[in-house]
Symmetry: D3
């Protein structure tokens, strides 16, 4: 038997989509513990605060016993080491994701050779789904019921009303 393997799944999650949940579901079956962690980026102004994003992630991953929700700033590999994670999980949806992901994967490998980045492909229903599409559709009251869980739809509706 191998040692316990801890994986981290970093992202902006602004907000979490069904595509993210698909990845979390897969990762939770492969590894002993999965830490879904919100990347705090001071350069971008998110629609949801980091607390809101963590709340939504917690709500939609309740049923996974080995999934934890967290946030981080700074270098991902430093966060991985601090959490004894040996795996970074990334979703790979389209060719346009590829080169950025490859760059980050190789850079992280140089900085932390013992941490392995693995890529999972979401269901093809989610190939062209991302959070910014969800935000855009929601802004104009488009139908997003196939893209995000009910609680995320509810929170997006509340945001819309405040505008």
């Amino acid at each position: 038997m191998k040692n316990k393997i801890i994986a981290i799944y970093p992202g902006t999650f602004d907000p979490v989509t069904n595509g993210h949940i698909d990845i979390i579901d897969r990762a939770s079956q492969l590894f002993d513990e999965v830490i879904v962690t919100v990347a705090l980026n001071i350069n971008k102004t998110p629609l949801f605060s980091s607390d809101e994003r963590k709340f939504l992630l917690k709500e939609v991953t309740k049923k996974y016993k080995n999934v934890k929700i967290d946030s981080f700033s700074g270098l991902l590999v430093d966060y991985a080491k601090k959490n004894k994670a040996s795996v970074i999980v990334r979703g790979l949806r389209a060719v346009s994701d590829f080169e950025y992901e490859f760059q980050m994967s190789l850079t992280n490998r140089k900085l932390a050779p013992k941490v392995t980045t693995i890529f999972l492909m979401p269901n093809e229903k989610y190939t062209y789904l991302n959070s910014s599409l969800v935000r855009e559709l929601s802004k104009f009251n488009g139908d997003i019921s196939g893209f995000v869980p009910a609680i995320v739809r509810k929170k997006l509706k509340e945001k819309r009303k405040k505008d």
Copy 2:
């Protein structure tokens, strides 16, 4: 603790390269058992017979206690089920690999929803390395010492002499 996770790493391995070994090394750390399995394809005429390819794979993976060598024909998902594997490992090196891999990953997911395909990126030293480049260089006596283990070089040399 999770159940034992068995991963299969299918390929042509004609012959195994340092890029393949890099993937096997990573996979052996992530999963309880890794089956490296030679895909038998009647449409292609390989340089090395399937027995030669399995022999070379065994030689270069000796030090990994949880790695087995095998071969298969037919559908990969059928092979995965027969071997109780829940993970398919694939190396992803370049954009040109992407769409074929995506197609196979989504098709296999449809045929066997419980099997997850994961992608690993080899060291950038091996980004543009593949078996056909090795065969081509070897044919003209080019230097392949950075690309394959010594025993593969030796066997390639023997093939060259027989020509």
Copy 3:
């Protein structure tokens, strides 16, 4: 009111898939007449003869009153001119299709400036579906029920038995 517009939809159709039918359905709504035409290519050995491919196309497009089935050899633009077609319809599924399609589109534009190539994207369910995947799965008795109509499944089964 415009003149009657005739579109041709050329392809190998070996065999026709649900992705092709999706394109035919769309094209039949846009144009007055759609000629689905089997490209005869002496360099490739198809699984189905041109007569079998035309038979299957006829069966699965019965309900479209403005769709005709045909075959051709030689240059597509000569075929278009002979049939008074001003539109060539092509499905565009993935980045790997793009450059070949662009090359053919620009070449045909040079040879026949009055003929316009239009591209349609099939439903994302069919993004990674093509005839060669269907043939491969069928060979090993994989489940292709989501990929082709029942009559195509039946004919593929008959082919398998003859092997």
Copy 4:
């Protein structure tokens, strides 16, 4: 004979280029009516106001009897429905356009299944032409005579003088 088919061709058109005009020319031959519509995007600061962009589009499409100029905000599919359009026309020039266009095409298909997105490829002279290149060249007084009609050149010159 089919029903009258109305197509919309949305874009930023800041300013209209010869590549856009090439697409409009083709679309006007395929469909009964073509509505070229300026997308109003509050997040971007355009060089030309929406009125200026519509003026230039009207000037350069005068000769097309079935082309109308308009503008819109909100979701494109809502605009399509309101205008009884069953076709969305998009130019596809390069691989880098592809995935964004695919995403929008599939999303719009989900939101409005009866609206079909079609893609046209402009003449290869315009493959690498876009409005931002025109603005950049104009800013430094570069020669843009092959890229935009005379009236657009004139208006760009006026903008330059005001800087």
Copy 5:
């Protein structure tokens, strides 16, 4: 003043096209000597013999005083060394060329660190032009006058008659 720089421009040239000539023209201005060299590949059956291809290359490059025509088999870097060439010239037309060219460039760099591969982009008129398109069009008597010089058209016509 630098040493005399010799460049080689390898290719199949079956047959030479206007795109190749565009590259040769550029290279002849940059380097002291350019050797255009026909790659002999025993696995492919060319339309034109190597002597015919060299004859056509000689005819269409007559006016370049520093261009020589040759052929080679074996590894390109060995050929470069034998000819004291420090530069390999390659045309780069489209994304689909990219990864193969990158692979060869990096491999050749490893085998011969002092030889530099440079890439030139042909005029956009030739972006989607290649020899196989020319052969295909010629086979069906399509108009190739914009794609190849008159003497190549003549030789293609002769081939057609022999079929």
Copy 6:
């Protein structure tokens, strides 16, 4: 013997990396004079001022006798003409660079037909290296010793302290 050939290598160089130096090294061997020139872009706020960037470039290219450091604003082709340069050198690292580079290359060719753009591929160690990755890693004190020369590391450290 050819005329003296002057090449320009434009870039942002914020800061210069080992990948840039690799390109400069190659270019200095091919051409009589290489002008490395910092593009001044008023829309971007660089980390290093143009004087700092030129200082660093001078420091790390000291050993190349035929390399000069400069800066420019306006159109690159105007700068090339003013400096009697007939070559523009660009590094090409990844597919994502390709289309932008192709666009600029073809545009510049139209504006200045006698200037040739050539592309060089850096060592694969630098494939996924760029200045923005270096800035990001440096901000969080990540190890950048394999990516930039010592003097650049020192200057980045000073910037970090001022924050």
